[in-house]
């Protein structure tokens, strides 16, 4: 073919070039595409696994966090409850102490009143006795006659009682 010759086209060169390309394709497939594809796939799997692990860890952390938050809430609630219980207890103790103090005070007051009453009675008795003695002495001096003492005493006592009855 004249035109092929003029253009410098030589079938044997074309054949050699085709063979060269096929060999290059084979070489690249074996030494480049295969290993790279494998490497990229393996890296992709690694990354996926790493992501999955990270997601799993994250989920675990979330779970732990929720757990801790729940525990914290429980602890706070428990503490609040305990405080309320303690305050309530303290109030009860206070009420109890107040009641006891009030009772003690009442008892002491009653005892004091009773003692005062007793003292009063005693003083009155002593006074009466003094008055009787004074009266007897005075009467003895007045009438200048001595009665026997028991007789006098009975007489004055009767008189005083009658006076006390009249006054009251």
């Amino acid at each position: 073919m004249e035109i092929f010759e003029q253009l410098g086209i030589q079938p044997e060169l074309i054949a050699v070039n085709i063979i060269g390309f096929i060999i290059l394709l084979a070489i690249l497939k074996k030494f480049l595409y295969g290993p790279i594809t494998q490497m990229l796939e393996s890296r992709k799997e690694d990354i996926s696994a790493a992501y999955a692990a990270a997601e799993s860890e994250k989920a675990k952390m979330e779970e732990l966090r929720t757990d801790y938050e729940r525990r914290l809430a429980d602890i706070e609630s428990e503490a609040r409850q305990r405080m309320q219980e303690t305050v309530k207890e303290a109030q009860e103790i206070r009420e109890h102490l107040l009641a006891e103090a009030r009772t003690n005070a009442d008892r002491i007051l009653a005892r004091a009143e009773s003692e005062i009453g007793r003292e009063r009675e005693k003083v009155i008795e002593e006074l009466r006795r003094e008055v009787v003695d004074l009266t007897i002495n005075a009467a003895a001096r007045l009438v200048d006659r001595s009665l026997d003492e028991p007789g006098h005493r009975r007489l004055v006592d009767d008189f005083i009682r009658s006076v006390g009855v009249e006054k009251s």
Binding site: E5, L7, N17, I18, L24, L25, F31, T37
Partner: protein, 238 residues
């Protein structure tokens, strides 16, 4: 005496020189691949990193262009890209030429692409589906559409090969011409100024673009076949 044709027939040098250069590229790419992935590490080194980025980027790109299930074609398409890019870039190195500036190489690559696409089309659609693809739709226009589709299909490797050859050959040629022009257009004391340098920098860009175009077109051809196979309703294969 018949004229001596060397290289593409338009530039000097033995055509086998370019073949040897392409084999050097093959060996270099193979060696780089081996070195990069000899002991693949989970935390990659610089070379492994570059290779991983390039390969995974290319695989994703092919997957996106071809569509669902397109990643299985990625090794072929990615190899086309890396190979063509390396061959194109070879022309930037002073003293070397791009093997893709010769039709022998671009035709070989286009034939590889064409054969692979046809093979996958038959494999995916079956022989009948493959034939019906050329027959077209509506069925009663098939006798007209069939030759048009066949010609269109045959034009694909032709356009692939000539586009790549033309662009890279032109780019190399401009660099050579600019390098040769510097003594004439610049003052004598500046005759060694590399005025071809901007074109060489631009050549890096066009090398990449041309490799990408070749690759995208191949992926596109594959996509057409696969889309046809997967999206056409049953019994409506054209």
């Amino acid at each position: 005496m018949p004229p001596q044709h060397h290289g593409s027939g338009l530039v000097e040098g033995s055509p086998w020189t370019l073949v040897i250069m392409s084999w050097v590229v093959i060996l270099t790419l193979g060696l780089l691949s081996y070195l990069a992935m000899r002991r693949p590490r989970r935390i990659p080194g610089p070379l492994q990193n570059v290779m991983e980025i390039a390969v995974s980027g290319m695989f994703n790109f092919v997957g996106d262009v071809v569509g669902p299930g397109g990643r299985k074609f990625a090794p072929f398409v990615a190899t086309l890209f890396f190979y063509i890019l390396s061959l194109n870039l070879l022309g930037i190195i002073p003293g070397l030429r791009s093997p893709t500036s010769a039709l022998n190489m671009t035709i070989a690559l286009a034939l590889c692409s064409f054969s692979y696409v046809q093979f996958q089309a038959i494999r995916q659609n079956g022989p009948v589906g493959y034939f019906m693809h050329f027959w077209g739709d509506p069925w009663w226009l098939g006798f007209l559409m069939f030759p048009i589709h066949v010609i269109g299909e045959l034009a694909k490797p032709l356009s692939l090969s000539i586009r790549l050859f033309g662009n890279i050959f032109g780019e190399d040629k401009i660099i050579v011409i600019l390098a040769g022009m510097s003594p004439f257009i610049i003052k004598p004391w500046l005759k060694y100024l590399p005025i071809q340098f901007p074109m060489m920098a631009f050549g890096v860009f066009t090398s990449f673009i041309q490799a990408l175009i070749f690759t995208v077109l191949t992926a596109g051809y594959l996509s057409v076949m696969l889309t046809h196979h997967e999206e056409a309703p049953a019994g409506a294969v054209h």
